[in-house]
Amino acid sequence: MSDPMAHRIAAATPPALAHRIRGLSDRAIAWVFVAPTIFLLLAVNIFPLIWTIRLSLTDFRTNRPNNPVKFVGIENYRKILTDADTWLSLQATAHFLIWTIVLQVVIGFALAYLINKKFRGNDLWTTLIVLPMMLSPAVVGNFWTFLYQPQIGLFNYVIAFFTGADPSSFSMIGEVGLAPWAIVIVDTWMWTPFVMLICLAGLRSIPPSIYEAAECDRASKWRQFWTITIPMVLPFLMLAVLFRGIENFKMFDLVVQLTGGGPGATTQLVSIDLKREAFEKWRTGYASAYAVILFVTVFGLASIYVKALNKVKDR
């Protein structure tokens, strides 16, 4: 397609301009090619960040754009950090984060390990396992509320079938004690394949010659697993944990559809709390400060984590 297209473009371009384009220096081309990307990233990533920081120092409310905006300094930050609700949300987020990561790492690694045994048809089954993570979390999360219905829900029925409990005796998303686990289960169902894929890439990167050498040295399988497999996969696994950690810290779509933060505030993750402040209570200044705190938290934790990751990699 390129050849006639090039001639058409060349023919259609006035000579002076054509000469200028053809004669563009590499330096100019580099700038022309990169400029739109940099512009968009600045407009949609950097500029909003700066604006958020500015708003966070005011008492601006989006639903009252005509009110005079007052500069309040760090008042918003002080209020957020002393608000008990914030700490409840952070607790809910920590519970969600820790359990999803633990479960996804254990199940994901186990699956990758099994798939790496290269049984017949393993790539087809891998693809089928990957399906849940490709789908829209909001749409799927909404449907899970149906699976979680007491009595008629499939999930309750299956659990009841295996435990003998009455399927209408418990409500995964309606009970304070169960709701935090309901969201952990769905997130684990959805994102275990992601950890699995990264672990699989790690397992496949280990050269077989290492195992052959270990076999010659009469190292037991158990010892090979702990001294070869685990250390070689660890950097990959840590990378998977980083991605899942960042994603789940800002988790919104799946959980807001599943529980909406309830019952009470038991599953009110920080993003859901933030949404309430920003788009329901319209406390824009306060919510902006909240956003900045969240960003700094993730950024700080991730930076420390990446340092640790690089140490493991260099070992």
Binding site: P137, A138, V140, I152, L154, I198, Q257, S271, F299
Partner: protein, 312 residues
């Protein structure tokens, strides 16, 4: 094929296979249930115990695509026989079809915004990735860090200033606004993935083309683009899936004209409670294309999923 002492034994393969297949079946159950529920009647969908075998019905799909209203039996009798099969389904419940539902529009919005933003982010991403790969440009070394840090901001946090900015610019609830937003969100990842693909194309090809009298532009689209086609395609799929599935921005920044399907599907309700077959039908039509994509293009998707970060 060579055999070595470290190859798993037949028995190990069998055990591994059985465990993985069991997991796959369990994990696919909710997806199968979505598709099945779409073909149930409302009473069948909420039956206890849950119905695995049922006589399929298109009621869910009819309810998904139409809006209906209740009429008295006398009025219904006065209407005469139903003109179409879907009229007949609706009239069993003393209802008549009053018009199409909004699902079609929402689906179309998803298509427009999904493909529009995918095209833009792949187009801009390719040229930027080429520049990052071949020239000295600023930001080059910080690229991955930059991508990671843009992904650390919760979408809700980004949505606050975007909402205010779009209100000023008149971009709230417009296709263009959503396309630009999704493009920007996808762009950093797109550049990063594509840079990886372009890095792998030997620079000697272009140098040869330049010596043969090609300009940089010609070398770019005659030599580099064809070589990068597979990479471009898999990046495109990845961008499309993100835009297709996105919910947080869509629910906050669109309400009418440009609303996509993910915020719409959960709001589908029937008369007297949630119409699960209609919800499931809407979800099925929305999810199945992605499932098919994933299965057909599995070889090319892996890299995008792992963020391109596990490459050498």
């Amino acid at each position: 094929m060579s055999f070595s002492i470290t190859d798993p034994s037949r028995r190990q393969k069998w055990i591994a296979g059985i465990l993985v297949v069991t997991y796959a079946i369990v994990t696919l159950l909710p997806l199968v249930w979505i598709i099945a529920t779409g073909f149930k009647t409302p009473p069948d969908s909420i039956a206890y115990p849950p119905k695995v075998f049922f006589s399929p019905s298109l009621e869910g799909y009819v309810n998904l695509f139409t809006s209906r209203s209740r009429v008295t039996p006398e009025d219904l009798a006065a209407l005469g026989p139903p003109a179409t099969w879907y009229d007949a389904i609706v009239r069993q419940y003393d209802m008549v079809i009053t018009g199409p539902s909004r699902y079609g529009e929402r689906f179309l919005n998803s298509v427009i915004i999904g493909f529009g933003s995918t095209f833009l982010s792949v187009f801009l991403g390719t040229i930027a990735a080429y520049a990052f790969s071949r020239f000295k440009v600023p930001l080059k070394d910080d690229l991955l860090f930059f991508i990671l840090s843009t992904r650390m901001m919760p979408p809700i946090a980004v949505a606050i200033p975007i909402f205010l900015m779009y209100r000023q610019l008149g971009l709230n609830d417009t296709h263009l606004g959503m396309i630009l937003l999704y493009t920007a969100v996808n762009l950093s990842l797109s550049v990063w993935l594509l840079k990886g693909f372009i890095d792998e194309i030997p620079i000697e090809y272009e140098e040869a083309a330049l010596i043969d009298g090609y300009t940089r532009f010609q070398a770019f689209y005659k030599v580099v683009l064809p070589q990068a086609a597979t990479g471009i395609a898999s990046t495109a799929i990845f961008c499309l899936i993100f835009a297709w599935n996105e919910y947080a921005f869509a629910v906050l920044l669109t309400s009418g004209d440009a609303q996509t399907a993910p915020p719409f599907i959960p709001t589908i309700i029937g008369t007297g409670g949630k119409d699960w077959p209609a919800v499931a039908a809407g979800a099925t039509l929305f999810l199945v294309p992605i499932m098919v994509f994933t299965i057909l293009l599995r070889k090319h998707l892996l890299r995008g999923i792992t963020f391109g970060a596990v490459r050498k």
